[in-house]
Amino acid sequence: MDRVPILKLGDILIVSIQIDLQDQSVLALQEDLADAVVTHGARGVIIDITAVEIVDSFIGRMLATIASISRMLDAETIVVGMRPAVAITLVELGLSLGGVRTALNLEKGVALLDGRGAPAVRR
């Protein structure tokens, strides 16, 4: 089973999804991420889905679940690099990822967490 690596940048954790996600790897990622947030005392989690070309409701729910877990541990989740086709698919599926902040790319995501960038998406 492929495990998704979790990178640490200051007090931000970066997860870049580069593989086809299976149910098992998603569950593992959620556990690993929760552990990592607690271990490093992270205040932000950035999930980079630039490489994700196909989404279904399962992936959509995964993102929402990770956001909920992180929020519980006082870390903010930002999803970055969503492709247009992916965004359209999620909208057609009726998933608006409530509670998850988004940014166009990793750079803007980091800026958002640092409070430097203008708030892109406010809910």
Partner: protein
């Protein structure tokens, strides 16, 4: 048509060859008068001559009408492009029947008359062929134009660093909205813009379906990390939207494009100072 007709077929074939000049002359006269005022008689005669020759060859070859059909299809296509009605084109072919009938009636021969019935069926088929080609050619023209319209009518323009605008003009349907949505989202990625203005000044009517499309576009942009403002809402459209009970929720809507631009600039932290002593701070609703 009938066996007897088939049996009398050679008589008509012979007639077509013997009286070629008379029949052809009469055909061009009838066709030119039936073809509509804006037809060039000379050009038509040249085409009809080709078609008549091809018809004779096809009869001599025993029914191989490939060349004849090709010529007729070409005639029909060019006339479709020139704006003739399909009837005007079909009448050109059908008038051959009349021209031949005059020659048949001159002869007064009953067997030739039976052969004419067979010939009449051939001409009917050819007339139908022009009709079909005409419809196909027209459909192709319409499809091409629809595609061109789709490409032309959805530009994504850059208003400011990090601010894009989509001025929508014309009626929105599912196909168009899909194109707009894809183009806008792709442009957001390409330019790294965090703000987009969808201007619907040129949209004549907003119904629940159009509103649904707009909402989807805004939500999709949000998912990617960009914020959309909808602008150019005319008073009647605002009225319609409220009457229909459409909820735009927390999506920002502005009356004019300039208001939307001011909003987007404020959101991205840009401040503009006016010329002279008057200092205009972009950020108020009346800016």
């Amino acid at each position: 048509m009938t066996l007897r007709g088939d049996a009398d077929r050679p008589r008509v074939e012979a007639l077509l060859r013997e009286r070629e000049e008379i029949i052809f002359k009469r055909w061009t006269e009838l066709a030119a008068s039936a073809a509509g005022a804006h037809e060039n008689p000379g050009a038509l005669a040249v085409r009809l001559r080709e078609i008549y020759q091809a018809l004779l060859r096809s009869l001599a070859d025993g029914g191989d009408a490939t060349e004849l059909r090709g010529l007729l299809a070409e005639l029909s296509r060019s006339r479709a492009r020139e704006g003739f009605t399909p009837s005007e084109t079909a009448v050109v072919v059908f008038s051959l029947k009349e021209a031949v009938y005059e020659s048949v009636a001159d002869g007064g021969d009953f067997a030739t008359l039976r052969g004419f019935i067979w010939f009449s069926k051939i001409v009917d088929d050819l007339g139908l062929l022009t009709f079909e080609t005409f419809a196909t050619a027209r459909e192709k023209i319409i499809a091409d134009q629809a595609e061109q319209l789709l490409e032309l009518s959805t530009p994504v323009v850059k208003l400011w660093e990090g601010i894009l605008a989509v001025p929508l003009v014309g009626t929105l349907d599912s196909a168009r909205t899909q194109v707009v949505m894809e183009k806008l989202l792709q442009a957001l990625v390409d330019t790294g813009s965090e703000h987009a203005v969808i201007d619907i000044t040129g949209v004549p009517a907003v119904d629940t379906q159009v509103a649904q499309h707009l909402l989807k576009t805004v939500v999709a942009a949000r998912l990617m990390g960009a914020e959309c403002v909808i602008s150019g809402i005319r008073p009647q459209i605002a009225h319609t939207i409220v009457t229909l009970g459409i909820e735009f929720g927390d999506i920002v809507t502005k009356a004019s494009l300039s208001d939307a631009l001011a909003h987007a600039l404020r959101q991205s932290g840009v401040e503009i100072t006016g010329s002279g002593s008057r200092r205009v701070v972009v950020g108020t609703e009346h800016a």
